[in-house]
Amino acid sequence: MPISSTNKNGQSLLHMEGDMTIYTAADMKNELMTHMAQPCEREIDLSEVSEMDSAGLQILILAKREAEKHGTSLRLTGHSRAVLDVLDMCNLASYFGDPVVLSCNENKGQ
């Protein structure tokens, strides 16, 4: 679960790739939390996430909550099919509150 990070106008852009599952959850959490420690706005690009399960979902929820705690913002973008399915099923789209979810949905043509 490589996470690559780029910086753009003081905003950190994290790019997730591969599976967000129980197998990668521990590493993913550590890595993501290191990134989260920096106080800045950030965006997580989920377009390359091929698979996501409950463990992956938990990590996203954790990241969102941490961001709220630190008073920074976290945006999820480019949701892949796998991510969308999970968020839809759990009715969590509104929790993350990212408008992109819908547009992305349309882009991918359902």
């Binding site: 129980i22 959850a25 521990a26 993913m28 959490k29 939390m33 989260m36 399960d53 409950s54 463990a55 979902l57 938990q58 990590i59 929820i61 954790l62 909550r65 941490e66 999970v86 099923m89 759990c90 009715n91 969590l92 929790y95």
Partner: protein, 729 residues
């Protein structure tokens, strides 16, 4: 979730039965060596596995009872409780009760009857004596049947199911994904609304990425029944909180639910209202009512309430699951080490092998006729292989008798206690194999004989000592193969049978004429007559004179014989002789006139020529001189009234059965022949001297001789003639 639960349950039942058997064996071993840590461990593991798997299937009665047993065993393992006779007795009885639970609750899908419930509560009390105080209170709480609180308030409006899920932390580690449960659920109906609960998610540095902290509040529209819905979450049950409220549940049930969940009441209330499970009014009414009914602390929910909740859920689930299960009870189940094959298939295979043997015999006959060397060689290789296949196929049905014998360890122990006798069971020849159908049917007669031997045979310790024997009685079960049959012996070192008493009784009952005194073994065998009892006192175990005749009938039905031998003061031996298999035998083909007969090869001892001299003598006497030995014989030609004059040369086949020899006089010896037994129809059941038929390679029918009865006949006639001769002289 594509796993077939019914099939899994069958496997569980088979496994539980085996584990209980192991547990019993181990307990008995423990009685001999109380400090064997390995054995204690094995018993604990057995109980633990039974409990764990029962939980998986929602078999609550089993879980709740086994839990206590496991508790006690755990303490034994830790050395907090010392193994002693009483504890083993309680544990053995608990094992019996668990077996009963498995049979009733898991296999039949029924409920315990009053007697079993009484027994269970008795056992619980006795087990509690061995339990840790602190754990005891916990266990008591778990086991007490908490009645559902009477409902107040009306029904809620919604016609959706409400499902509350809080997954256990280990769900994901156990290889399950909560999301897959939701996916599966959505195949059963429509998820109207869902709220993901992650309040349990700890701060980032405490959170373990592999633990599950998720929960869901789901409103679900479906026509499925409760059992089906609950079945979705079957595998996550352990450690998870699962509440399923049917449509139009009582308002109080929702309030109970709110209180039993870890999140705060207000938050849950809001969720229920937003998802449409409850209306605002319903929520307020429910909560206020609940508060007025005195509850000192609203924030923490007592354990009992959760239990009420879960109980109400599980009870119905168990019932429905079990109903469903009884329907498919016949479905096969698997075991780790064995493949369970339907007996019919095996019989079919053996039948086919039988046909193959017949066909093979036909081929070799043809090969001999055309006298083509190559062909003969090929057929002889083939018949060798066919023979191996036959043996292999028959061996599939053979099981060692040891398992049947071992069951008696427990019987001997229990009956010994009941009678106040110290009796040791010695098993020998446990790996002697015999046909499975025979094994199944021999259990009851054996049980009877063993109990009889313990009750009447072995004396009480004081009498034994006064007779100069060791106080401990010995009962031996022995098995061995002997000329095509298996012999099972039940030997006790008790007082032996009272010959005079039996004789007197037999005369009283008119079974023996007053002036005749038959040989000892015939007198002893009188006890197999119906209604014959020499016991002075009738005990709960035996002595009613019912049974020995049943034993004999059962054994005769298996084409076996039972014999009894006894020496006063030294003990009694009962030998049961049974045929090894019921399908194929190695035969010896003989000819008389144009007919062919088969003698089971195992019984053939030798073949000799009937000399002219002997033939002359047979007119006067019914025995031959076999190297100085008296050999009674049967002329098959006369016996079966075969037409035509005797052949110029006749032969004698010397057969042996149960220690007696006899000669069968035949015309022709035709050699070995693999014989597939075709049973004779009912019409021939009264025919004496014939036990079956077979088909020869040429298509002709050959009759299989019933050697034991022929031998008996020859011997009887011999003795009869001797006695008449004595009288005339």
């Amino acid at each position: 979730m594509s796993l077939d639960l019914d099939q899994a349950l069958q496997t569980y039942i088979a496994e539980a039965r085996e584990l209980l058997q192991d547990m019993e064996d181990s307990l008995l071993r423990l009685e001999v060596d109380p400090n064997d840590a390995d054995t204690i461990g094995a018993i604990f593991r057995a109980a633990h596995t039974i409990k764990g798997s029962a939980g998986l299937f929602g078999l609550d009665p089993i879980v709740s009872f086994t839990h206590i047993v496991e508790d006690v065993l755990d303490r034994v393992r830790d050395g907090d409780v010392v193994i002693e006779a009483n504890l083993i007795a309680v544990l053995l009885e608990s094992g019996d009760h668990m077996l009963h639970l498995v049979d009733v609750v898991a296999a039949q899908g029924g409920q315990l009857d009053a007697e079993a419930i009484a027994r269970e509560s008795g056992l619980r009390v006795r087990l509690q004596a061995y339990q840790d105080d602190s754990e005891m209170s916990h266990a008591v709480q778990v086991e007490t049947e908490i009645p559902l609180q009477s409902s107040g308030g009306g029904l809620v409006e919604t016609d959706n199911w409400h499902i509350s899920l809080r997954f256990g932390q280990n769900v994901m580690r156990d290889g399950m994904d909560p999301l897959s449960f939701l996916r599966y659920l959505s195949t059963l109906g429509e998820i109207v609304s869902i709220t993901t609960m992650f309040d349990a998610l700890p701060p980032a540095d405490e959170m373990d990425a592999e633990s599950c902290y998720l929960g869901f509040e789901i409103d679900f529209k479906s026509d499925a029944d409760k059992a089906t819905i609950a079945g979705v979450f079957e595998f996550a049950r352990e450690g998870s909180l699962i509440h399923i409220l049917p449509p139009h549940s009582k308002l109080t049930e929702y309030i109970e639910l709110i209180r039993s969940l870890p999140e705060s009441e207000t938050r849950l209330g809001e969720i229920l209202v937003t998802t449409g499970a409850l209306t605002q009014q319903e929520l307020e009414a429910g909560l206020s009512e609940q508060q007025t009914s005195a509850r000192p602390d609203g924030s923490t929910t007592p354990l009992g309430e959760i239990l009420v909740e879960q109980r109400s859920v599980e009870h119905e689930v168990v019932q429905a699951a079990l109903d469903k299960q009884t329907q498919s009870k016949d479905s096969k189940n698997k075991e780790n080490r064995y493949i369970r094959v339907h007996a019919d298939k095996l019989d079919e295979l053996i039948n086919m092998v039988g046909e193959l043997v017949i066909a093979g015999a036909g081929v070799s006959l043809l090969a001999q006729r055309v006298s083509d060397n190559g062909l003969q060689e090929a057929t002889s290789v083939m018949s060798g292989l066919v023979e191996e296949i036959r043996d292999g196929a028959l061996r599939l049905r053979m099981v060692p008798i040891g398992e049947t014998f071992n069951r008696f360890q427990r019987v001997v122990r229990d009956v010994g206690r009941e009678l106040g006798k110290d009796i040791e069971l010695v098993i020998t020849g446990a790996d002697t194999e015999l046909d499975k159908t025979v094994v199944e049917k021999i259990g009851d007669p054996l049980m009877h004989l063993v109990r009889n031997a313990m009750d009447h045979g072995i004396e009480s310790a004081s009498i034994r000592q006064s007779r100069g024997k060791s106080a401990k009685g010995t009962l031996r079960l022995n098995a061995y193969h002997d000329s095509g049959s298996i012999v099972i012996e039940i030997v006790d070192d008790g007082g032996g049978l009272n010959r005079d008493r039996i004789l007197q009784k037999a005369r009283e009952r008119g079974l023996i004429a007053p002036n005749v005194t038959p040989p000892d073994h015939e007198i002893f065998n009188m006890i197999f007559e119906a209604g014959f009892s020499t016991a002075e006192a009738v005990t709960s175990i035996s002595g009613r004179g019912v049974g020995m005749d049943v034993v004999k009938r059962n054994i005769t039905a298996l084409r076996g014989t039972v014999n009894l031998d006894s020496a006063v003061g030294q003990g009694t031996t009962v030998s049961i002789r049974l045929p090894l298999t019921l399908a194929i035998i190695d035969g010896f083909l003989v000819g008389v006139g144009k007919s062919s007969y088969i003698v089971p090869l195992d019984m053939v001892q030798e073949c000799i020529e009937l000399t002219e001299n002997d033939r002359q003598l047979t007119r006067e006497r019914s025995y031959l001189n076999l190297r100085g030995e008296v050999l009674p014989f049967v002329m098959l030609r006369d016996h079966f009234e075969v037409e035509g004059a005797g052949a110029r040369r006749e032969n004698v086949v010397v057969v042996t059965c149960a220690g007696q020899k006899a000669g069968l006089v035949v015309d022709e010896l035709m050699g070995e022949f693999q014989t597939v037994i075709k049973p004779l129809g009912k019409i021939f059941s009264t025919l004496r001297g014939i036990s079956g038929s077979t088909i020869l390679g040429s298509g002709e029918v050959a009759l299989i001789l019933d050697v034991p009865s022929l031998v008996q006949q020859a011997v009887n006639r011999e003795t009869h003639q001797v006695s008449t001769r004595q009288l005339t002289h």
